[in-house]
């Protein structure tokens, strides 16, 4: 599935929620469900700085596609990561670089995009794109 298709799928899912509570409960459940990263990658060098909660991100290139794994010590942040990974993992670096993240606003999580937000959603997306740029350079 393309990044765009996945984003549209997520927008559809979120449109069924009636209020913030359902939205957040869904993200919390996502956060609870997923074992997101192998312990060996939960190192200090994989921590994204600038987050109030700790966020670890690891990336690997397989068959010209990037596979992301990540984790956080805060569950809502973990839920957000789960959504981001669903969108950006298993995609070609070029597609990740060219993608936009308008869907975050559309699923009612706009408040997490403000640079003052301590969960670092902005830094997270930046980090994912940095990996994509790095791997794209490798592929060229």
């Amino acid at each position: 599935m393309s990044i765009n298709d996945i984003q549209n799928e997520i927008i559809d899912e979120f449109s069924m929620f009636e209020d913030w509570e359902e939205r957040y409960q869904y993200m919390i459940d996502l956060g609870k469900d997923l074992p997101l990263i192998e312990d060996q990658f939960k190192t200090d060098s994989n921590i994204i700085k600038g987050c109030q909660s700790k966020v670890w991100v690891h990336a690997e290139l397989k068959d010209d596609k990037i596979f992301f794994t990540a984790d956080s010590d805060a569950i809502i942040t973990k839920g957000i990561i789960a959504i981001l990974i669903r969108v950006f993992s298993n995609q070609r670096p070029k597609d990740i670089i060219e993608s936009n993240t308008d869907f975050i606003e559309k699923i009612g999580l706009k408040e997490h995009l403000s640079p003052t937000r301590a969960n670092g959603l902005v830094s997270m997306i930046k980090q994912l794109k940095m990996y994509a740029i790095a791997y794209q350079t490798q592929l060229n």
Binding site: W20, E21, Y24, Q25, I28, Q52, S53, K54, D73, A74, I75, I76, T77, A118, N119
Partner: protein
């Protein structure tokens, strides 16, 4: 007579909604809200007498200068300083601390010792570390105990003839502990060390008397006591302020300038280079007048009631732990829910219109001590109510249900 419902009417922001819910503002330790009386002073300044001060001969400049200097007198009287020129206007506590730290860089020698406390805000750690790097002085730390109190017997051991400076906050921003500054000051003076007390968290709750404390430097921010942001003050004993070199060069702080030599202005102007936050200074004075009209005795009595009520109600929640349990504390409650990250709790509370602070509160060493990533901090002011505390308790319960 203290009537919280009447007081709330002074604060327009308290009637707004957040995320469709009435705002419950419990982030007062970060910044306090502003009453209409202070907002009016700000509007009046820009509407009627905005001008640069201390140099114009025209009427507006005179008027602005008079109001600005009146504000200095209000602050002097409030803190009971001996002279008005012992009050230096700054952009806030951080600026005040840096001004003193910078001044001491020409006084300290290698091997001199500076003592800070384990309860400090980063703004009262970093400038001293920088000072130590510049001068070769050594930084020592008064440790804390589980209750979040400084251990005075350890302080006794740290203090020596090498101690030149002691820096402690009056009240901890992260835990609310009221520190025994009288004892700390007396001990430091016995070995001839100077003391700076960071009053940022104390001034919203009590009225310090700098002469009775015999403190050398006392600093505060206007925005934590119903005034505007970007404004604060440094109190320094006249002798110390005369001894310290100027912090910044520029207009206002000079007496005479030639290319060969500049002579500095008298106190307080020596430390007030450039055009100051004139409106901010005047509004700071108005904020102090506002709080004094309510009265600090009434304020601290009422806030203590809120603290006791909230402590009791929050502790009824299963798995809730409060950090900072000193008997001597102000209306600040730092807490965590067992197994739940403070950031998650803060996020859910925000969705319910409740403003708290989460994180390390710029006091990472305290969090390291408790081995936690941070806390949720609810801090109450005299305009908060028990009904609001009930909303907080209900919201924390809900967050716990959602998150566990």
């Amino acid at each position: 007579m203290f009537n919280v419902e009447d007081i709330r009417k002074d604060f327009p922001i308290l009637s707004r909604q957040v995320n469709g819910k009435p705002l419950v503002y419990f982030d007062n330790a970060a910044t306090s809200q502003t009453p209409q009386q202070v907002i009016d002073v700000i509007v009046d300044y820009y509407s009627n007498y905005n001008a640069n001060i201390h140099r114009g001969v025209h009427a507006l400049s005179q008027e602005a200068t008079d109001k600005y200097e009146q504000a200095r007198h209000i602050i002097q009287k409030h803190f009971n300083a001996r002279f008005a020129h012992e009050i230096i206007f700054t952009s806030g506590t951080t600026h005040s601390i840096n001004l003193v730290a910078n001044g001491f860089s020409s006084i300290l020698n290698k091997g001199d010792e500076i003592i800070v406390s384990a309860l400090e805000h980063h703004s009262n750690i970093v400038p001293w570390q920088m000072l130590c790097e510049r001068t070769g002085a050594i930084l020592k730390v008064i440790p804390m105990n589980q209750e979040g109190e400084l251990i005075m017997s350890e302080y006794d051991k740290l203090i020596s003839n090498n101690t030149k400076l002691v820096f402690v906050n009056h009240i901890s921003n992260a835990l609310g502990t009221i520190n025994p500054i009288e004892y700390i000051i007396e001990k430091a003076h016995q070995v001839g060390a100077a003391v700076l007390i960071d009053g940022a968290q104390a001034c919203p709750h009590l009225k310090p008397d700098v002469q009775a404390l015999d403190v050398d430097f006392y600093v505060a921010s206007a925005h934590k006591m119903c005034g505007p942001t970007g404004e604060g003050m440094l109190y320094g004993k006249e002798a110390w302020l005369k001894k310290l070199p100027p912090y910044q060069g520029g207009g206002e702080m000079i007496a005479e300038v030639t290319f060969e030599k500049t002579t500095y202005a008298e106190l307080p102007h020596k430390f007030e280079a450039g055009t100051p936050n004139i409106c901010g200074g005047i509004a700071f004075g108005a904020a102090i007048d506002y709080m004094n009209a309510i009265g600090f005795d009434a304020i601290s009595k009422y806030e203590h009631e809120l603290l006791e009520y909230a402590t009791q109600k929050l502790l009824e929640i299963e798995g809730l732990k409060i950090y900072g349990t000193s008997k001597n504390k102000t209306s600040v409650i730092s807490f965590n829910l067992k197994g739940i990250h403070p950031y998650d709790v803060g996020t859910i509370l925000d969705k319910m219109g409740i403003a708290v602070r989460t994180g390390h509160h710029c006091a990472q060493p305290i969090m390291d001590y408790y081995k936690i990533p941070g806390t949720v901090r609810a801090s109450f002011a005299f305009y908060n109510t028990k009904t609001e505390i009930d909303s907080l308790v209900a919201a924390v319960k809900k967050a716990r249900l959602m998150l566990s």
